[in-house]
C-alpha cells in the first residue's frame, strides 16, 4: 500500500463508462472467458494494464503478463482469446 502512495487507482468497478463496458470487459463477456469468475476482476485489470503498455501482445506476451493471475477453472485459452479480441477491437477504434 505504501508503494501506491497517492497515485490514482482504477478498480474493476471503475472500468465501465456511462453504461458501456471497457473493450476488455466486453471481450471477456463475449468470449465467456470465465467459469466461476472469481479471478475475472483481476484478470481483466491485468489485461487492461497490459494493453496500455502493449496494444498488440502476442499470445506468449499475454501469458507472461498474466502470469500472476491464477484461474482454477482453467479458462486460460479463452482468456488469451479474449485479450486478443479486446486488442483487435481497441485497435479498430483508434483507426
Amino acid at each position: 500500500v505504501n508503494a501506491v502512495g497517492a497515485r490514482p487507482i482504477t478498480t474493476i468497478e471503475g472500468l465501465e463508462k456511462n453504461g458501456t463496458l471497457h473493450p476488455v470487459q466486453q471481450a471477456f463477456l463475449d468470449v465467456e472467458a470465465f467459469q466461476c469468475a472469481y479471478c475475472t476482476s483481476g484478470l481483466i485489470m491485468s489485461s487492461v494494464s497490459l494493453l496500455q503498455a502493449n496494444p498488440q501482445p502476442s499470445p506468449e506476451q499475454i501469458v507472461q503478463s498474466l502470469q500472476g493471475n491464477i484461474c482454477r477453472c482453467g479458462t486460460y485459452p479463452s482468456i488469451i482469446e479474449a485479450v486478443q479480441r479486446a486488442a483487435a477491437n481497441m485497435q479498430e477504434r483508434t483507426k
Binding site: I12, E16, L21, E32, C36, T40
Partner: protein, 246 residues
C-alpha cells in the same frame, strides 16, 4: 483431518443417500404472497418428493393453510416473471443458468423470463449445503416436476375460463393456447390470482429430453455482465445484518 489416526467418518461417495432439502415453512399464506408478490406459486412439499410420490395433483388450494415441509418453490408473477427459489448456492458451477434453463424449458417460457433466487435462506428453503455435485441430480428433476405442475395448473385455469377441457389446450411460449379457436392467454394474465399448488403428480407429464429446446443447449451465462463489472457477490462479499466477524 482426524486426530491420532482415527477413521474419518465422512464417506463422500455416499452423498446420494442424504435426504433431500427440507424446510419448516413458517410463513402464513398471506405473508407468502406479500413476500413473493401476487401470482401463482408451486411448492414442492417434502412428503411429495421423489420416493413417496403418491398424492394426486397438481391440486390448487385456495384458502387452506400452507404446508409446512417444503423443498423448493416456484413463482409466476403477475408480470410473467418466473422465479425459482432453491436453497443451493451459485458458486461458479453455473447452476443459476442451468436451473433457469430447466424451468424455462418445462414451463414453456424464454430463458430470460426466469430468474433464480439461490441460497438466501431468508427467502429460500433450507438446504444442508451445496456440495458433492448434488444440485443437478436432485434439484433439476424437482424443478422440472414443479414447472410441469405449474404448466398443468395454468392449463386448468385457462380451461375453467374458456370452458374447454385442459387436454385440448397447449402451453408454450409464455401462453396457453386453444388451437381450436386460436385464442390464447398469457401466463401473466392467468397468474393474477394468488394460487398455490403443490408439486405432486407423478403423472404430470414432463418433457422427454428429446423435446428439450432450452435445457441442455448453450445459452449465455445468466448475470454474465455482473462478473465482468465486479458486481457479482460471492459468499465472502456478503455482509448480512448482525453478521459476526471472526
Amino acid at each position: 483431518m482426524s486426530k491420532s489416526g482415527e477413521q474419518i467418518l465422512l464417506e463422500p461417495e455416499r452423498y446420494e443417500f442424504l435426504a433431500l432439502p427440507m424446510h419448516r415453512f413458517a410463513l402464513e399464506r398471506r405473508d407468502f404472497f406479500k413476500l413473493l408478490g401476487a401470482g401463482i406459486a408451486i411448492i414442492a412439499v417434502a412428503k411429495d418428493l421423489p420416493a413417496q410420490e403418491t398424492a394426486p395433483g397438481p391440486k390448487a388450494f385456495h384458502n387452506e393453510e400452507l404446508p409446512k415441509e417444503i423443498g423448493a418453490w416456484l413463482h409466476i408473477a403477475e408480470d410473467g416473471t418466473v422465479t425459482g427459489f432453491v436453497g443451493k448456492a451459485e458458486m461458479g458451477q453455473n447452476v443459476r443458468t442451468s436451473l433457469a434453463q430447466t424451468i424455462a424449458d418445462e414451463l414453456g417460457v424464454t430463458f430470460g423470463n426466469v430468474r433464480m433466487l439461490l441460497g438466501d435462506t431468508a427467502l429460500t428453503p433450507f438446504d444442508m449445503g451445496t456440495f458433492g455435485s448434488r444440485t443437478t441430480p436432485t434439484i433439476t428433476p424437482l424443478l422440472r416436476r414443479m414447472a410441469a405442475a405449474a404448466r398443468q395448473l395454468l392449463l386448468e385455469e385457462a380451461s375453467k375460463k374458456w370452458n374447454v377441457p385442459a387436454d385440448r389446450l397447449t402451453a408454450g411460449v409464455g401462453k396457453i393456447t386453444d388451437p381450436a379457436s386460436g385464442r390464447s392467454l398469457r401466463y401473466a394474465e392467468l397468474a393474477r390470482e394468488d394460487l398455490v399448488a403443490r408439486h405432486t403428480a407423478p403423472e404430470t407429464p414432463i418433457k422427454p429430453a428429446s423435446q428439450w429446446t432450452i435445457a441442455g443447449k448453450p445459452v449465455p451465462k445468466a448475470d454474465g455482465r455482473a462478473f465482468v463489472t465486479g458486481s457479482h457477490l460471492y459468499s465472502s462479499d456478503l455482509r448480512p445484518e448482525g453478521m459476526l466477524f471472526g
